[in-house]
Structures are given as C-alpha cells and as structure tokens.
C-alpha cells in the first residue's frame, strides 16, 4: 500500500484549471517532492490531500484512506506544514505546540513528553517560553514544522517550508526532513528550489500549469535530457540575429532567453561553445559571461517546457 496515492486529481477555479488530471504516488517511508514554479498547482494539489479543498474529480488516499470518503481517518494519519506561519504569535512556542498537540488528540503526560521531544527536534527547547511573535523567521518556520510532528503522523506534507528564511535555518529544516524520513515518516515536499528536491527526494514529480509533466527519481529525470549540458550566457546587447544564428548552430537543441540571460541546451559544450562565440562575433555581439552546468532538474524543466524553472 502506498502512503500517498493520487489518481486523475482535478480542481478548477472558474476558468482556471489549477490541477489537471494529476497522478503521483509515494511509498511508505519515501520523500516525494512536487517541483514546479509558482502557480504550477502544487499547493492546490496538497490542499486537496489535506482535506482543505474538495476535488472536482479523481481520487486521493493517505495510508489507504480516501481524503473525500473518509476524511477523518485520512487526516488522523497526516501532519501538514503550511507555507504560511500558521501559529498564534501571542502564545509561546510551548503553548502553541501544546495547543496543536491537543488538536491532534494528545493529552496529559503523553502530550508534554511529545512537546519536549519536538522542541528538542526543532532545536528550540531553550526558547520554548518565548512568544512566537518575538521569533525570527527561521525559528517560526521550525515551530511551524514542529506543530505538524506532534502526533507522529505517518505522512507529513510540507508546503514550501524554506521560503524566505536564512541559510542556517534552511539547512536545519532540510536536515530535520531527512531525520524524520529516517524514522519512517513519508514526506510530501513541495518546492520550487530544484536543489532541495534533488537533495531530499526519492521521487520527484515536476508540475507545470496544473499537470505533472514528469515523474521519477532524480536520475531518471536527468536522463530525460540525455547528456545535454546547460549553458547560460549573458550578452552586452539583445539581438534576434544572434538567437537565430545559435538556434541553427549544430549541437544546440534548445534556446531560451529570459531576464537578460540566454540559456541553451547543447550536446557537447566543448564542441558547441566555440561555434557560439564565432556566431556572436559575426553578429557583432559580445558575450560578457558564460556559465556551464551539468544536466540538472533545471535542465529537465527547460527541456520539457522551454522555460526556466525560475519564479
């Protein structure tokens, strides 16, 4: 039995098809990442899994419980870390955790022991009596995660948990996710940072415009772009002439320009790069910077959509 199973899930808001026949699954103890730009439909998909939105079609189960037919059982096995800091700023860290523990059905000594443990996990035992309103963004994020772990859920959904925080807190959160996963929790992790998806995930579902456009392990997804290398070039001027010239250059499979940077997917950078410089010279365009990257999820997204995986 998969811990998470989503089949043909659909949700629209008016004319906007936010989630369009999405399929993905995660086995127990896996980390599955939903990777995609903002507006790809990741949050809508997990809102349906969390029982916050009713799907227009399809099905979703958590630990075998349908989120629509048996929502209470599905929710009982689930911990949700929302993208926003969903805590009470005028209560202390401990008071927040105690409250959320009660909402998950914990009581008495078991609750207190679990709160102590979670404070230890998120590294805030020393600050447990301080009000959340006085915490830094990173500390709030850690309590935000801790509140979802109190009842030891089988499945944890984390919606962009590292948005807008300092590198140290981000590192702490990523390490926590790995540690939780080692304890057997299944994690569904949404992000638009490809490095996080690459580092954490057993499987990755790449979403764009409401659809899952690729699903697999990191290695399987990289194979989609073959041995292609990604080259980012910055030019001294914008020129359609050079774009056309590069597009027709032997060894270039894809070209995309955005925010002053030209991104190309090429078969062999050693062979192609001199040709690119030659064409630029003929078009009287100067290349001001070159960045060569081995194939990664960014390349995969570019390969699949023709757009960069940026905000």
């Amino acid at each position: 039995m998969n811990a998470i199973e989503v089949k043909n899930l659909k949700k629209s808001f008016g004319d906007l098809q936010a989630v369009d026949s999405v399929n993905f699954a995660a086995a127990q103890g896996e980390i599955l990442s939903l990777l995609g730009p903002n507006g790809a439909g990741k949050s809508t998909a997990i809102s349906m899994l969390a029982g916050l939105l009713v799907p227009d079609g399809g099905s979703a189960t958590l630990m075998g419980h349908s989120v629509t037919a048996d929502p209470q059982a599905a929710k009982a096995s689930l911990g949700v870390v929302p993208q926003d800091i969903a805590l009470y700023p005028d209560l202390s860290a401990r008071e927040n955790l105690v409250f959320w523990g009660k909402m998950y059905g914990l009581r008495g000594a078991a609750l207190n022991q679990r709160v102590d443990k979670v404070l230890e996990i998120i590294g805030l035992s020393e600050r447990q009596k301080d009000r959340i309103g006085k915490f830094s963004g990173g500390m709030k994020r850690r309590v935000n995660i801790g509140a979802a772990l109190l009842h030891k859920p089988d499945v944890v959904i984390m919606d962009e948990p590292t948005v807008g925080i300092d590198p140290q807190s981000r590192r702490h959160i990523l390490d926590n996710v790995k540690a939780l996963n080692k304890q057997g929790m299944t994690v569904l992790y949404t992000t638009h940072y490809m490095e996080e998806a690459a580092e954490l995930s057993d499987h990755i579902a790449i979403m764009d415009q409401g659809k899952v456009i690729a699903f697999g392990t990191h290695a399987e997804l990289i194979k989609l772009v073959g041995e292609q290398t990604r080259i980012d070039l910055t030019l001294n001027t914008e020129s359609t002439v050079i774009f056309d010239a590069w597009r027709n250059t032997q060894g270039v499979s894809r070209i995309d320009a955005e925010n002053g940077t030209v991104t190309l997917l090429v078969d062999d950078s050693n062979l192609v790069l001199p040709r690119l410089f030659e064409a630029a010279a003929q078009a009287n365009v100067r290349i001001t910077s070159v960045d060569i990257q081995e194939p990664n999820l960014e390349s995969v997204f570019l390969h699949l959509t023709g757009r960069a995986l940026r905000d």
Binding site: A50, G51, L52, L53, Q72, K75, A76, L78, V80, P82, D84, I85, A86, L87, Y88, P89, D90, L91, E95, F99, W100, K102, M103, Y104, G105, R107, A147
Partner: protein, 399 residues
C-alpha cells in the same frame, strides 16, 4: 474536549490582549456610572414642589402660636418656612414666597381671661388666585383656634375657676379635630398624579442594564478579532487539516465568545448589584437566564462578524455599527416608552429590546421568572438566526 481546548485558547489570547480589559471591564463600568449620573441629574431638575409657600414669622413664640403652626403645617397644601420678618418680606418680593404670616408678640397673651387671641397678619397678593387660596387655607384653622380659646374662657367664667380654661380649651380643639374627621365634605390638596420615573427609584435601573447590553455587543471587538486573525494567519486552515470537524471548530469559537460575553455581563450585573444598588438578585434565576440568553445572542452575532469581516478594522466597524443600531433601537440609552410611536414599535422587535425588557421587568417592575420567558425566547430566536447565517457563510468561504 477539543472544543473546550479551542475555546480556552481563544480566551487566553483575549485576556492577554491589553485592550480587552478596556472594552470588557473599565469602559462599561465608567459608562454605567456616567449614564446613571446623567439620568439622575435630569430627574432632579424635573421635580416641582406644588405647595403654597408661606413665610412663618413668629414673634410670640408661645403655646398658642405653636398650636397654630402645628395645625397649619398639617395642611398638605401649605409649606411653612420659619423666617425673620425682614427676610420673609424679601422672599415675598422675590416671589419665593406667596405670603408672609406674621404672628405678633402679643398673640395669645390675653387669651385666658379676655378670650382675645390677638390679630395675626397675612401679607399676600389678595387679588391673585394663590393669595385668595392662602387666605381660605388660613381662615379655618385660625377660627378654630380662636373658638377653642373662647370656649375655654367661657367655661372658666361659668365655673368660676381659671384652672378650668386649659381642659376646656384642649377639649374644644380635640372636638374640632374630631368634627373635621366627621365632616361630610373634606378638602384635600388637588394635584396631578405624579408621573413615576422611567427608571423607578434608582437611575441605575436604566443605566446598568443599558450598559450591560451595549457593552456585551462592543465586547465582540475582542472575540470576533480572534476568528479573523485565525483566518488571516492561516491557523484556521491548519485547524481544518486536523481531524477536527468543521462544527467542532465553530463550536469552540462560539463557546469562547459566549463565555467572554457572559463573564462580562456577570461582572456588570454584580457591580450593579453591590455598588449601584440595582436589584438584579431580586429574581436571581430570571437574571441568570436573561444574561445567558443575551450572551448566546451576542456570541452568535460575534461569530457572524468574525466570519464576514476581512480585517481587524472591519471587526471594529461591524461591531460598532451593531452596537449603535441595537443599542439605540433597543432602548438601552433611553426607554422606548418615551420614543415616537413608529420608532418604538420597530425597536420592540429588536433582540436588544428583549434583553432590556427582560432585565427591567426584574429591576423596575419587580417581576420574576414568569416575566422573562418571552424575552429569552426572542433572544434565542435571534441567536439561532445569526448562528445559521454565520454557519452558512463559514461553509461558503471555506478556509
């Protein structure tokens, strides 16, 4: 159990907010005192003394002048004020007195033996109605006193013993009194029936329940804000992702709102009872029931405001509008009985009027449990209406 936990959390947040004390306790107590003072001042100015004021200038100061004073003072249409002659004449000139009655120093000196009581002087405007009335009011008691002296003197003369004057004089006066009570025609002061004050004998009978109802509504500012904050900071969304059902979340919040409203009402009722002598405990069960019904209605309205408002500012705006609307129409500032017909008729449909009416049945009309069932039923009907609207809106907006 989770419903109680949610309500407890809401109350903890409310009591940690410093402005809660202001809205829930300080302001209503200050306003109760202020309104009671204002009502009382208005009533004091309206009180009139309809009696005829007469300056009593007693230069004799003996038993006959004292007897005359007592007999005149018994007359409820007269108000005798003991004064010196000069100041009495000044008061008459100013119009403070309608007449001056001067009892000369020789009054009664020759009574025993000559039967001459002596002449008293009434200074008044004999052409005015009041002056003529005053003369008529004085004439009878003075004549009765003079005739009693005459009887005493005659009796002493007939028996030939001056000691017989006093018993005969006293007996004659008593006979006059007796005769007066047997009289076929008795005169009384004719005055319009005094209108009973609309707050009974204590101005806080209006001020205290009025502020109870008014500030129960204003108290929504603090409790409804909790729900709005919960929607804004997405904790409501997080709650919905737990195994808690929607109705449990709604119940937890409305329980907190009710508890807060009821605690505030209880505080103001006890303050009224112990400090302002407003007799809520004349019918304690009736007071408890009407307070609970008021709390339930206010909590339902708070839930609706909390669901409809999108920001703290909107909570304040909606709560203030509700407060002004229901307070003015419900007779919390002034009783609907003194309002224009259409306004009063519309106001009597309001739940705030039901609460005021129920409380004033207890406080002013001295009624008990039987008098508050209708107000309680009206409050509960309104509470159900607001609750259903809030629930419908809650489900519609989702999280």
């Amino acid at each position: 159990m989770r419903i109680l936990d949610l309500a407890t959390k809401d109350l903890l947040q409310i009591f940690r907010d410093k402005k809660s004390f202001l809205f829930l306790a300080a302001m209503p107590i200050i306003f109760t005192l202020f309104m009671g003072f204002a009502y009382n001042s208005g009533e004091d100015g309206a009180e009139d003394d309809a009696r005829i004021s007469v300056a009593w200038v007693d230069e004799a100061d003996n038993q006959f002048s004292e007897l005359l004073f007592e007999r005149l003072d018994e007359n409820t249409a007269l108000s005798l004020v003991d004064m010196e002659e000069a100041s009495a004449m000044d008061a008459l000139a100013r119009g403070d007195m309608l007449g001056v009655l001067i009892i000369p120093s020789a009054f009664g000196e020759q009574a025993e033996g000559t039967s001459a009581l002596g002449q008293i002087t009434l200074v008044t405007d004999t052409l005015s109605t009041e002056g003529q009335s005053l003369y008529q009011l004085l004439r009878v008691p003075v004549s009765q006193l003079a005739s009693a002296v005459e009887i005493g003197t005659l009796t002493a003369d007939v028996i030939g013993d001056s000691a017989e004057f006093s018993p005969a004089f006293t007996l004659a006066l008593e006979e006059w009194d007796e005769h007066q009570s047997r009289s076929l025609v008795r005169t009384e002061k004719a005055v319009a029936q005094e209108e009973e004050s609309w707050f009974g004998d204590n101005p806080y009978n209006q001020a205290s329940p009025g502020i109870v109802v008014q500030f129960a509504i204003i108290g929504l500012i603090t409790s409804a804000q909790i729900l709005v904050e919960e929607r804004k900071n997405r904790t409501l969304q997080r709650l919905m992702s737990t195994a808690m059902r929607t109705w449990e979340i709604v119940a937890g919040h409305i329980l907190a709102m009710f508890t807060l409203a009821f605690l505030q009402i209880a505080l103001l009722v006890l303050f009224g009872q112990w400090v302002l002598d407003v007799n809520y405990l004349h019918a304690p069960l009736a007071t408890l029931l009407i307070s609970a019904a008021l709390g339930i209605w206010v909590a339902s309205m708070g839930l609706l405001i909390g669901v409809v408002a999108k920001s703290d500012d909107q909570v304040i705006l909606f709560s203030m509008v509700a407060m002004f609307f229901f307070s003015a129409l419900g007779g919390t500032w002034f009783p609907l009985d003194v309002s224009a017909g259409g306004f009063a008729a519309f106001g009597r449909l309001m739940p705030s009027y039901a609460a005021m009416n129920g409380l004033q049945n207890i406080l002013i009309r001295g009624l008990g449990l039987a008098s508050i069932w209708q107000p309680v039923a009206i409050l509960m009907i309104y509470a159900l209406g607001f609750f259903m609207l809030a629930l419908w809106r809650f489900r519609k907006i989702g999280v």
